[in-house]
Subunit: 360 residues, 2 copies
């Protein structure tokens, strides 16, 4: 089996509401150059996979509203590599479409499915892990998920408990676990059996489609109905009609927690899901006051542990503020203690109730 | 003596740095509609005096850079009523020029000199006090200052101690006092002899010029040198050369604290100098969370006692902030505890050192 059967699906349809208002519906997190490197998180995800998967085998799954931004950020892709979801339906329908689409191109295809908005710092290690993962799923009818070696008792992630080792770093999955409380997370860390659920998957197209047939037959039937049109000019018309009829469900619930051929490859490549302001704060270099600044100038007096995310080179002068998020998006300013960041989703909801979509 | 000898000088050249960045060098405090009434502080000062002084007898003294804003805010004035200072030299040179300029129009002129950026809420009382003041200075060679009945032991103002009563509410001045500490301010309040120095003055043109001759002869000589050009096309050319040679000094230091014919009219017309964010906060209506908002939408969670001054109808979402100033001017955001507001001048200085004039 050569590398040319290897495909990559980058899921790029999220709206990033936990980073509101810095991340907005119109420019969500994955399109932002969070680390100031000149490349957005999406572009970094793309760059990272290029050494493993040929450019023409990369497929972006996104909401239709982001088509132009994707073309702008990844001009090297052809339109046929950008699959536009007409509605938001979580990861299972997205992954099912991608699997049927890619199998129609190459029945022998193996696929890595990856979010577009995570950070990975150790690229060589990432490359080694992904190649090992591809080799495993190419030789086995396996649904492989990547489990990140935990470095702290994080309560914001799901965990995967590993069972027997199959080969190398690949193990059977014993359980999937929802976000634990702190005490449980500390226990998880001590046992050494629990790994963070990364949301990165590898499998062959035929393997995931077989799993869909078995564990999500309704969903599968919808995409099977398009077998004549994938990779034809009619594909989008079919999807526009069929996709909204899918139920909204994650691939974890629909398949991974039910299937028996689920495996986890334990990896350690400097992963951060950048899922929260605190995660971004922790990842980011601090200035001498212990503050993190995103694209702005800050004069800080008696202020430490804050993260300033402000667009357009604005100057912030701040006094007497500890451990806050200060996020300015032009027409919206958010000031919120880092310890309260789980409330931001509720705030966004309140904003929607009060002002409609204007500030979302 | 008829009303037509009555003139008004509105001093309008301040840069409002204590309200930075909401008040900026290019649009200082007096040009802002702080109370959301549709009229700026300057326009309110103008409106207030119109019932006492005929429109054509109102003179605006301002820095040359604000000429266009004045014309825009007070289009009913002619260009000859707007005197443009080529440099900032505090109040004494400004008042001296205005006195010479007005005396050349009307040798019998009496003048009220008033800042443009204070708030006065009881206009009928104001009108009564000003007319009584005009009558006093028209009948006496008096330098009259207005002393506000204090309502709290304010440490941010200068005080005037009254001596013997001359007539009505007019008294001899016993002492001028700098900003007291809290204990002294409390004593001031108890004695009933101390009044806030409002910076509003009344006198005849010839009386103030006589005082300048006696107590500020160097300054006086400069403006006396222009006696041939006031109210001619050459006036501005003369001023452009002469004005910058004046020393920068307040009218209080130059004249009021030295002259023997200084009187104070004690008044009580709902005066607030709006000199600080806290003063503005105290004056302003609070919303149900106890916050004050200036031209913005605020969603506040666990946040009280803050003042939000933000331009352009921006939405602020804030959590866990008590007694802060949040001032957003587009390219600058200030977040500062109200208790630290005396540090804002230093911050502006730091900004100037670090970034030059860009954010001033």
């Amino acid at each position: 089996m050569t590398e040319n059967h290897r495909f990559c699906v980058i899921m790029c349809g999220g709206i990033g509401s936990r980073f509101w208002p810095y991340s907005r519906t119109d420019i969500p997190k994955q399109f932002i150059d969070f680390l100031g490197t000149g490349r957005s998180l999406l572009q970094m995800s793309y760059d990272r996979i290029l050494s493993i998967v040929p450019k023409e085998n990369i497929v972006i799954l996104t909401n239709a509203m982001y088509a132009e931004q994707i073309k702008q950020q990844l001009p090297e892709l052809t339109d046929s590599q950008i699959l536009l979801e007409p509605a938001r339906r979580n990861t299972a329908p997205c992954i099912a479409w991608a699997a049927y689409h890619i199998r129609a191109i190459d029945p022998q295809a193996s696929i890595i499915v990856t979010p577009s908005d995570h950070l990975i710092t150790r690229e060589a290690e990432f490359q080694k892990s992904i190649i090992a993962g591809f080799e495993f799923v190419e030789q086995n009818d396996a649904l492989l998920t990547l489990g990140i070696s935990p470095t702290r008792p994080e309560t914001g992630y799901g965990y995967i408990q590993v069972g027997d080792t199959v080969e190398g770093n690949v193990h059977k999955v014993k359980t999937f676990t929802e976000k634990p409380d702190l005490e449980l997370a500390q226990t998880f860390l001590r046992t050494g059996e629990f790994f963070w659920n990364s949301g990165i998957f590898l499998w062959r197209a035929d393997t995931i489609i077989k799993a869909l047939e078995q564990y999500a037959p309704d969903l599968n039937a919808i995409f099977e109905g398009g077998n004549d049109v994938y990779n034809t000019p009619e594909e989008q018309t079919f999807i526009n009609a069929a996709y909204p009829t899918c139920m909204s469900i994650s691939i974890d619930y629909a398949i991974m927690e039910k299937a028996s051929n689920v495996y986890v490859e334990t990896v350690s490549f400097g992963w951060n899901d950048l899922g929260t302001w605190s995660a971004l704060f922790d990842m980011s270099p601090k200035n001498r006051d212990g503050n993190v600044t995103q694209r702005c100038q800050v004069l800080a007096y008696n202020s430490h542990g804050n993260i300033f995310a402000v667009k357009d080179d604005k100057l912030i002068v701040v006094d007497g503020l500890q451990d806050y998020i200060i996020a300015d998006a032009g027409d919206v300013l958010l000031i919120c203690p880092k310890s309260q960041e789980q409330r931001i989703k509720q705030m966004v909801n309140d904003v929607k109730i009060t002002y409609g979509d204007k500030y979302l």
